[in-house]
Symmetry: C2
Subunit: 341 residues, 2 copies
Amino acid sequence: MTDVSGPSRGRRTTLADVAARAGVSVPLVSIVMRDAPGASAATRERVRRAAEELGYRPDIRARLLRRARSRLIGVVFGVQHPFHGDLVSGLYTAAEAVGYELALSAVTPGRDERRAVASLLQDRCEALILLGPQLAASDLAELTARMPVVVVARAVRNRAVDVVRTDDAAGLHLAVDHLVELGHTRIAHVDGGRAPGAAERRRGYRKALHEHGLGAGELVLSGGLTEDEGAAAARALLEADPRPTAATVFNDRCATGVLDVLRRAGLSVPRDVSVVGFDDSSLARLSHVALTTVAQDTERLTALAVARATARLDGTAPASEREQVVPPHLVVRGTTAPPPG
Amino acid sequence: MTDVSGPSRGRRTTLADVAARAGVSVPLVSIVMRDAPGASAATRERVRRAAEELGYRPDIRARLLRRARSRLIGVVFGVQHPFHGDLVSGLYTAAEAVGYELALSAVTPGRDERRAVASLLQDRCEALILLGPQLAASDLAELTARMPVVVVARAVRNRAVDVVRTDDAAGLHLAVDHLVELGHTRIAHVDGGRAPGAAERRRGYRKALHEHGLGAGELVLSGGLTEDEGAAAARALLEADPRPTAATVFNDRCATGVLDVLRRAGLSVPRDVSVVGFDDSSLARLSHVALTTVAQDTERLTALAVARATARLDGTAPASEREQVVPPHLVVRGTTAPPPG
DNA sequence: GGTCGACGCTAGAACGTTCTAGAAGTAGGC
DNA sequence: GCCTACTTCTAGAACGTTCTAGCGTCGACC
């Protein structure tokens, strides 16, 4: 008989296997594996070696079943959305820093948010983080009654839901300030429609324009989340009379659509028209795009989201102040310059 | 005392709670919830109502702990990679169709593949699907010894690993055929470097050129996965003498970088230069890009990947034929036309 | 009228872990 | 020598589910 104790074959190795090999009780092995107090240094060493030899891996399900706390946070994200990718990256590091794990559930064209949430509910998550959810406020409230829920990158009217989001209005204010400083007076805004944050950004654009005494030149063009919608908006912009010399755009993806149409129409960016995006996505950073844009602080957003979720679990979160707003900052690249003439 | 039986409060409701309410035993409730045979219609109805009233949700961890099979497939994907998003979408539907669930684990800038895989190993997955992994073949082989592993969208030399991938060489052959048919004779290829599939695509390009008797005009420009690398390659292409009238490009992202530089240099696509991408990503479909491209059949790829994983689990997978190659097809849009002159 | 099978249901164990309670053993203080 | 305190360890139960085995009851068959 050969030794089949390796990790490769048949039944998975359990605490009992390790305990037998090390000549101790099962709970003691558990203690060692968890680095919990209650074992001598010599025994720890022996148990560790036995576990190593057997290729032992703790069964996280059994552990969670037994433990009161799962230290697991569910995350719902859109698989299509590049910005969600950035946020997921940040969430992983933020969660790890406070000893939590993440359970991911994707929203895809064939799998809506309800499904994504439902699958996490079975998973013993202690809290849920939803990235830019489209769920109705009532659904969110219902979910919140069941467990802590933190919504990221979307404003929610319902005061019972924790929200962490960028100060979208301030972001557009920054963009307009920058353009005004360069000397622009006719500044358009390409809108995001019903997308999360769009209303706030539109509001910020309007407010900034008025504060600079440029309210008369206000021009909101209907756009959207995607390049195509940006392209359509750019065509509308070209026909405006007088034509704006600058545009703030709902997001970077949409802005690249705008850029493309402007350039194909023979205009130079930024010489003829300046363009400012939003998100500072990897798209904007590409050297041949070099989009001036409003950067969201993903690191801060994700850290706050995880912190709020865990605080809610510990009961240390404030009952008021459910909304945390993170200031954005402007990243000036190559698509903004003084107006022509 | 008010009724605290609702789903919102304290301890989660268990089978025992439902059983007590319905006046039956715990296993019977389990039978009803699983739609397993062994309960009368009347009882089923009563149990279902009790469960509904209590807001009962099965605890998937306890279930998995008890069950021999978890019917759970782990998926490792790159959160940055849009094409992985498409694949994940397909995997969800393919898995659901055969009664499996997915456990997602993301690769991010701060979380490498090892970490991603390790977290799934704890999770009781029965099989692993890895999307375009960068892991060494030896690591893959080691993993395969432990559990069924299916690699998607990357060729693996090791014959012990199941692979489902697009026929990259054939894809480039299609692209070259198309360009030759249009009348092009000087066709360049923008390379993907060490990226998964790049070597195959380069090979397909060379083979097609030779078959058309155009081997003399072979020109491979070093590119990569991203727009920036495509832009650099396009600058090299502009300096080539004689200048190619067409280029096949490693992928769509890279191709958009190529397009951008060509157009900024004052050339018209497709009038002066034709460009063919690879992936048929959402990028290529954008109306203002309208990239002619080689489409990967994501639906087929994902269905085959799930089918292979489950077949491996059932022991019905063939010992040979570890590699399944899916033919791509050409999507002709607006970036290809006959050469000038 | 007894055996058989099917049906509807239940008792008890099992999955792999962690928790609680407590048992040995050692050491120190009086 | 006894009490207390501490360390190291173990027995047994518990988490919520599903599996195995088996118990009644009913009807049918010979």
